[in-house]
Amino acid sequence: MAVNKIKRSLGLKMLLSTVLIVVLVMLLGTFYLRFDLTASKQYSLSLSTKDLIARLDDRLQVKLYFNKDIQGHEYLLPERLLLQDLLGEIEHLGGDLVSVETVDPTADLVASRDAEHVGITAVPLNGQDVGSLSIDLLYQGLEMRYQDSSEVIPFVRADEFEFAFSVRLAALIAGEKPVVGLMSNEPLLPPQMPGIPRQVPDGRVFEQLRNALGERYTVRDVSTTQEAEIDLEGVSTLIVARPYQFPEKFLVAIKDFLSDGKSVLLLYDSEFIESNTLQQTAVSTGLESWLAELGVNISTRLVYDSNSIKVQSGSQEIETPSGMQRVPLQAPYGFGVFSENDSLNREHQITAALGSVAFFWAHAIDTSGIADNLSAIDLVTSSDQAWLLPADSELAMSTENIRDLQIKAYASGQPQSYALASLISGDFGNQGKAGRLVVTGDSDLFHNLTLQSSENPNREFAANLIDWLSNDSDLITLRSRGLRQRPLHDFAATYVSTHGGFTDDEADNAHLSKAAWLHTHFVQRMISLINVFAPMVFMLIAGALHFVFRRRKAKQVKSNV
């Protein structure tokens, strides 16, 4: 009887504690207490997004079009988890005002129609096929509805999610996007005809810049033809792109805009370079005397930098573990200045978190004689191993010309660092209003050919410039967040550079690349084996020593007895 009583009592205790714990776990699950230990607080929303969510005064409906099944493409999982995590935090922060719904268009016909209706299309996946189990279409779009408006992110990438979400939420709350004016000599777009896709004229070389900014801003064209009307009403920032013989009235408009305490981005070039033939033509911008009045001197010579972009200068045959292969030969092209690390002003918000900026045929900017009412700081410079070469230098990207340019640069004197983008701020019109002018000594850094890749770092530079000039610096912080690439040390590159680098001799290059590959393989194998065996050997030695000491101690005790 007593044993049964004890059993019953213990069983009851067990049941009660289990129930208590289950209730506690369920209660804990309702708490949103978490500590994000990642360096960039990757899984937490920033203050600016939280502020935007706090400004909601109506219900925000977020619909994520997301196929749950990613079989065969499991590498997408980290990105998808991050997306769901951030959306979870948004839903939690918004409380009753934010609802997040996830639908799977591959499994739900209604969701599939809705996705098509709002402009979210599936992205085809290739290259990871594992037979019939593998999916071939990926949905990853987001629709946001607020009051009578809606915004769509057709394909949302985790590393850009918070920025994309915040700019759209800001637009939904404000009701409209800020306006950026783009003043250039480019041909205007033809009028939109119903049912006919609009053709972009050939000469619109800053179309990719418009697209990059279009997510956040309404970009309004300001034509510079003599007869054109200048409409800068409601424009927060004016981009003056590749000025060419600007009529006086446009210069007056720029001056008035700056005097009014607004911001201008000037993409300056004193020659045009034809992208196919690389033939240059010197041009007059019409802004020279005004810039000289401000104390901004832009050299007509071209900056040649030893830290430069690699271009394909030819090809060669090399021996690889899988046989002889013809591979493209890359060489550093000195006129493609690659600014990174110390060449970017880490004190300024525009360039603080930038990885790099690439310039093509850039001019040096000298602001040492800046006017008394203004101040200037350099945002981007060349490396300190840079020279100025004549503007009429041969620009071809062949191996021979690259070598000739290098010889000319080295023979032209001592290298030094040159400013390539500068910020001038102050009272431009003596009206007591502080305007801001950013001058870049190159317009090709935002040319269609440069910005055509969505990964190009110049896109980020362009967006940061406009955000800062439009007083939206919070967005700069948001844009630089996300999944950061952390590549491993490149043993092959180190090996090649410590062995004198590649030369013109194909046989030497083939030998060196094979040796670099073998060296990399050896080092990686060694690291792996050390990691596998070192702790094991350590534990086995510790065990052996322990037993030896124990045996010795036992012997000692035995002998004492």
Partner: protein
């Protein structure tokens, strides 16, 4: 505090036999081999990240935790020392918690031996240590839950091999509940429950670099339930 006396005894007793060293060495070697050697995942991914290292942890813990915990009670029962243990001036709860803390400390030593991997990765690239710390905390709690379950299972048998096998199978099931959630015939509520009780799902949340209190709470709850069950089993044994 009295449980710590038992924990200390259990911890050192573990390293009195070669099996302790072998298990610890095996765990660190397996963890490193799966990361660096199998499929060449780490070097082909070319990122200074420990994500793949920790993605193997739930399965590794499912194999190693039963090996560490299998002797905790099964050996005492087999050798008949469990009755003597119960005559000591400790409550059953203290004995159970003490033994559990002892085996948990053994696992912590095994985990310490894997620190060479993140150090190597940090030397090869710019490793973000935040997610590594969170993942180590997650592994410790995941193993704590696994060890508590295995200690309970060990109290059910006098055979260590049986204890290991049953423990490993139980932990595997606990790590594979999420598969149930993706089965088409499962109702939504059951799918949600199976996701919530899956040990690896809670671990993956931690391994990303976020110390999520509800996930840690889940592991603590599993530990408490298992230790209470362990105490109950021993009470029944004491009372015949």
């Amino acid at each position: 505090m009295r449980s710590l006396v038992i924990a200390r005894r259990e911890f050192f007793a573990y390293f009195e036999s070669p099996i302790g060293y072998v298990v610890v060495a095996l765990f660190s070697a397996l963890a490193a081999a799966l990361f660096f050697l199998v499929g060449d995942v780490f070097f082909s991914y070319n990122q200074a990240s420990m994500r793949h290292f920790f993605s193997n942890m739930p399965m590794l813990v499912a194999m190693i935790a039963p090996a560490i915990a299998m002797r905790s009670w099964a050996e005492e029962i087999r050798s008949g020392t469990v009755e003597r243990l119960m005559t000591l001036p400790f409550s059953l709860g203290q004995l159970v918690v003490g033994k559990f803390l002892g085996v948990w400390a053994v696992f912590a030593v095994a985990l310490l031996c894997t620190l060479l991997a993140p150090i190597s990765v940090a030397m090869l690239g710019d490793l973000d240590w935040g997610p590594v710390i969170a993942a180590y905390v997650g592994t410790l709690f995941l193993a704590g839950a696994g060890l508590a379950i295995c200690c309970f299972l060990s109290a059910l048998t006098s055979n260590q091999i049986v204890a290991w096998m049953v423990g490993a199978c139980t932990l595997l099931v606990f790590n594979l509940f999420h598969l149930l959630a993706s089965a088409v015939f499962i109702p939504r509520w059951l799918a949600e429950i199976s996701l919530n009780i899956d040990m690896s799902q809670h671990f993956h949340a931690l391994a990303r670099g976020v110390i999520d209190v509800p996930s840690l709470g889940f592991y603590v709850a599993v530990m408490i339930v298992s230790l209470v069950a362990n105490t109950l089993i021993l009470s029944l044994r004491r009372h015949g």
